[in-house]
């Protein structure tokens, strides 16, 4: 469902999509059933001339099971959601693959700036490449990112990666991603950060190895 709206572009995107689809599907099913039941009851017990309304307490077993049975089934659904969510959490937050390269991401009102390692592949050296509004990465490589904020709370959101991580002033928050699709995609801020929050956008350019090498050569 969601993958037809926003293309999955990282190794963990399909896992996150599965949990979102699972939650969405179950909510749609139970929500639809509840609404259908509600309207059916409205129709079934509509006003009829000469028929007095019947007061029910809800304690009668034959009525109470309309609540109890769906309740137990929904608890089973919840357990399934928790199981799959923990599995996905482990894959994204605990089972971190070996890192190929690093990126420093700095959020501020109202722009994203990026520090790339440069040709030597090491962060904090003279050949680092600093950019504003544009992040360059290579497809099929694992990147570890470090998030920093210069002022207030932000959230580093890359929809195609299914990545959204808060950026907190005073902290250096790390995470990772592994792009699987080349192209230019959106980066946005997903935490209200002031009047310019809605226009705090940037682009991530996921390049083939040749394109990335050409960019590295031209950037210095």
């Amino acid at each position: 469902m969601i993958e037809s709206l926003v293309q999955p572009g990282s190794t963990f995107a399909p896992d996150i999509d599965f949990v979102i689809n699972l939650v969405g599907g179950l909510v749609f099913f139970w929500g639809g059933l509840t609404v259908a039941m509600f309207f059916w009851l409205l129709w079934r017990y509509r006003y009829r001339e000469g028929v007095k309304a019947l007061y029910v307490t809800g304690n009668e077993p034959e009525l109470k099971r309309w609540i109890n049975i769906p309740h137990y089934l929904i608890i089973l659904c919840d357990l399934a959601i928790i199981g799959f969510a923990v599995q996905t959490w482990y894959k994204v937050k605990q089972d971190i693959p070996p890192v190929d390269d690093e990126i420093r991401v700095v959020g501020q009102q109202w722009a994203w700036t990026f520090q790339h390692t440069g040709p030597d592949g090491k962060m904090g050296t003279d050949d680092d490449i600093k950019t504003a509004d544009v992040l360059h990465v290579e497809v099929d490589k694992t990147y570890q990112f470090t998030l920093e904020s210069r002022d207030v709370l932000h959230s580093f959101s890359v929809p195609i990666f299914r990545l959204k991580q808060d950026v907190i002033p005073g902290r250096e928050i790390q995470g990772w991603f592994h792009p699987t699709v080349a192209g230019a995609f959106d980066i946005q801020c997903a935490e209200m950060c002031g009047i310019g929050h809605g226009i705090m956008a940037a682009r991530i350019i996921v390049e083939t190895p040749e394109q990335h090498a050409a960019w590295l050569a031209g950037a210095k």
Partner: protein, 229 residues
């Protein structure tokens, strides 16, 4: 039966009517600035004032006096041509797109939020009509005497009185706050501003700032500018 039916129809109509009113009010709120005004006729100080209050006043304040706490300088008193040039520089990424330009990076998206070129023109026109101020000095330790010697380099473009020169693309300095001038000199010196190849005037300013040995020299020259008001 007819009474029951009419009661039902009123019962359903009320929330639908409420939602309709809510939607209409919401739509009207979103059109504070007439979207149809996209012609040269729209370039008026009045329209510029509306745009200014929507987009600029939060940081630069309603009177254009700015606020140091968010790095927004006083812009009241700056000429229309300079405001427009800088807005266009921000919009095109000529200014405010450097990794270390914290205030510029904040200003750039705000300049881009002006929907059209006519809006830039109108805001520039309005800012040009704002009453100039002389912001109170906040930078300590500047030696205006030494600064007056250093200022001989600056006066070729900015004038001996620091009032600027449009033909040279040099803005007036006397209406700008001292903290902002010191900060901008530092940015020019370090290539945070004026390093973009498209920034012709910035490229002129950069070597001038590089001629100032250190931050003390910047404070000194700005100290002299403060005496020109």
């Amino acid at each position: 039966m007819s009474n029951v039916a009419s009661r039902w129809s009123v019962g359903w109509a009320a929330p639908i009517l409420g939602l309709a009113i809510f939607g209409i009010v919401g739509a009207c709120r979103g059109t504070t600035i007439p979207a149809s005004a996209r012609s040269a006729d729209a370039v008026t100080p009045e329209r510029g004032e509306v745009l200014y209050s929507n987009y600029c006043a939060q940081c630069h304040k309603a009177d254009g006096h700015g606020q140091e706490s968010v790095g927004a300088p006083s812009i009241a008193g700056l000429p229309q041509w300079y405001v427009k040039t800088q807005l266009m520089n921000f919009r095109q990424g000529i200014r405010g797109a450097h990794f270390d330009d914290i205030e510029g990076l904040r200003m750039r998206p705000m300049s881009l939020s002006l929907p059209a070129q006519e809006d830039v023109d109108a805001v520039s026109l309005y800012v040009g009509t704002m009453r100039p101020v002389a912001p109170a000095p906040s930078v300590q330790g500047g030696d205006a005497g030494h600064g007056s010697q250093l200022f001989t380099t600056c006066q070729a473009c900015h004038g001996t009185d620091g009032k600027g020169n449009e033909a040279m693309g040099a803005p007036p300095l006397t209406v700008q706050p001292d903290w902002y001038l010191v900060r901008q000199l530092g940015k020019f010196k370090n290539g945070v501003r004026g390093a973009d190849p498209r920034d012709v005037k910035g490229a002129t300013m950069r070597p001038m700032a590089q001629g100032l040995a250190d931050e003390q020299a910047m404070k000194d020259v700005v100290g002299h500018v403060m005496t020109l008001r």
